[in-house]
């Protein structure tokens, strides 16, 4: 399989990470934050967002582009968690049941999304964005209107005072940082949550393994040419559905890691920007719309979040306005994706 690379002078696989490193270093200089603080924060973001970013890889390899519908996976897990909290299933039983329920729901959702995407070949990315928005409003309908009115809820604490709808924030106190603190090593000022890093790496290894099984070979074949793989006798429709199911399930598990790391559960906003941030992180690591490797995801999380952490403080110090750093963050997140799209389609058209 011959992979199409950019021109030798301007190869975005290396240029994009370089730009991120340069800008991060510059912003870090202006931010005045200590190196160990930034390192701890970035490592924290790595274990928080790592699995979500990894969940994007397989759809890219399958030629389906960035899967912005990972928010649907995230919402499945949040739904499972909310059900557990609403019916007071606590402790280890609660979290295990939530995982099982969340995975089941994300398999179902992944199947639905896969079927939809099979009908819009070539326009998967825009469709996944719209699916994410649509499912978000269904999610809001269920929890803001349905809970407490149609669906009875045992746990009154999470319901708004008017009796209908879940509160904006639900405490996850009982789950907070439970696994993050396992095997926490401290070297000087640096804190290394070894167990969670291992978990992220296990997920990475799993994806690596999947891509090297027979199924993975089929995925790669579809990614390089749908027609050829159909001639070879691969059921492209079924493989594409499986790819999206896998991505959605990984996103659901990723969201669980994300939520337990934060410890507070913003019911209506926790999942909203995860798709954009994860996609931008993957691209920051040097991936493109057609080509993504595990190292792109792992490197990308570090690069992207370094910039994310230092830029508000840099904005504060440079312009005496922290909001400017915020704008810079959003610009980087959206701009990275826009840039990748423009560059990639240009290579395609040439």
């Amino acid at each position: 399989m011959r992979k199409r690379e950019g021109s030798p002078i301007f190869n975005s696989e290396y240029v994009v990470p370089m730009v991120f490193i340069a800008v991060s270093l510059l912003a870090w200089q202006f931010s005045g934050l200590t190196g160990s603080f930034v390192f701890n924060q970035v490592l924290n973001r790595f274990i928080r967002d790592g699995i979500l970013v990894l969940s994007l890889i397989i759809p890219v390899v399958a030629g389906m582009g960035l899967n912005f519908a990972i928010t649907v996976g995230a919402m499945s897990m949040q739904t499972a968690l909310l059900i557990m909290i609403a019916y007071r299933v606590e402790g280890l039983t609660g979290i295990l049941l939530a995982i099982i329920l969340g995975v089941l729901m994300s398999v179902l959702m992944g199947y639905v999304i896969g079927v939809i995407l099979n009908r819009v070949k070539g326009k998967e990315m825009i469709t996944t964005i719209i699916i994410g928005f649509l499912f978000n409003s269904v999610y809001q309908l269920i929890f803001l209107v349905g809970f407490g009115s149609v669906i009875p809820v045992l746990n009154e604490e999470i319901i708004l005072t008017r009796g209908i709808g879940v509160r904006n924030t639900v405490d996850l106190g009982m789950y907070r940082n439970t696994i993050d603190k396992l095997w926490l090593f401290e070297i000087g000022n640096l804190e290394i949550p070894f167990f969670m890093i291992l978990v992220v790496l296990i997920f990475a290894a799993m994806i690596f393994y999947i891509l090297h099984t027979r199924f993975g070979q089929e995925v790669k074949a579809i990614g390089s040419s749908t027609q050829t793989s159909e001639v070879l006798g691969i059921n492209t429709q079924a493989v594409r559905i499986k790819v999206i199911i896998l991505s959605t399930v990984l996103a659901a598990l990723g969201q669980l890691a994300y939520l337990q790391n934060i410890g507070m559960f913003d019911v209506y906003t926790a999942h909203l920007t995860n798709d954009i941030i994860s996609c931008a992180a993957l691209l920051a690591g040097g991936a493109s719309i057609k080509h993504a490797k595990i190292r792109h995801a792992l490197v990308g999380v570090f690069l992207f979040h370094t910039l994310f952490i230092v830029s508000p403080q840099a904005g504060q110090n440079l312009f005496h306005n922290a909001a400017l750093g915020e704008y810079f963050r959003s610009f980087v997140a959206y701009g990275t994706i826009a840039f990748a799209l423009i560059i990639n389609v240009r290579n395609e058209n040439n």
Binding site: V120, K123, S137, Q140, S330
Partner: protein, 343 residues
Amino acid sequence: MSHYKLKLPQIIISLFLLLLVVIASALRMDLTALLNQSIVKLVMNGVLVLSLIPMLNVGAGMNFGLPVGIIGGLLGMCLAVNFRMTGFYGFCMALLFSLVFCMLLGWIYGLILNRVKGREEIAGIFIGFSFIPLMNYFWTLVPFKNREMLYPIGGQGLRPRISLENYFNHVLDDLGVITVSGIEIPCGLLAFYALVCVFLYLFFLTKAGRAAIAVGENESFARLSGINIAQTRLIAIIISTVIAGFGICVYAQSYGFIQLYDEPLSMAFPAIAAILIGGSTGKKTFIFEAVLGAYLLQSIYLLTVPIANAILVPELTEILRTMITYGIILYALLIRERRGASQ
């Protein structure tokens, strides 16, 4: 396709609208007042919907990059307010400034979109999304002098909502209003809307306009006929951007505020949903479809507010709106690709 056919989504939407009207009258709401508001809402949002037509017809897809044009319009209005231009004169100057900014922005936007031919929609979303935080820098740092636009404390940076009370609030809405048995007909507003429609209609009769339709229908055939594809697309995209800028000016004068910062972020989706409800399939679109769609969608938006309030869950309005908006866009994506495949 010379005559108009009703399609499934329109029937569903119309029935839903009818249901809402029945509920509204059962709740003893003032239907005449609602009708009056619906006419204003049509024009308020309708110009933005019309702005999608040139890009659809040239084959550049649904303009998810609508924020680009909207920002051009916002720039124009901010400039007019900064120079304290008031009344009808102020509004016309805002339009004039918008025209200049939108032509420039549309030209750049068009050049980018010409590079991503076939992927305009996804690229447009992210061009729009990334342009907004970039402009947030501008709004924060621009050295405008009119105190009514700036943050009251500190005196630097534009407010997120600039009141048009002393400038050109409702200049079109209140222009030549005729009242016939309780129904208010805002002639000035409707005349402006009609003017944009006529302009679009005439544009598609000119040589450039006919070339645009030819490119949209069959690009390779158009190329063989000697049409300059890139230039034709550029013209259509610039016109779309300019009308989008005018659209936000009309919207703001009706709404009473200029909304800056992240406000344009999600404005593209309702406009696209409206044109799709009108019967467009994301390809060649008639002006009539844009008008019908805008009216249907805006009437639904209008009616859901009092009804949701009456049943005590105010958030329901917003949820229903977004569900309809994204649902219809998803439906259109599915339908269009199936037709594309069968051709």
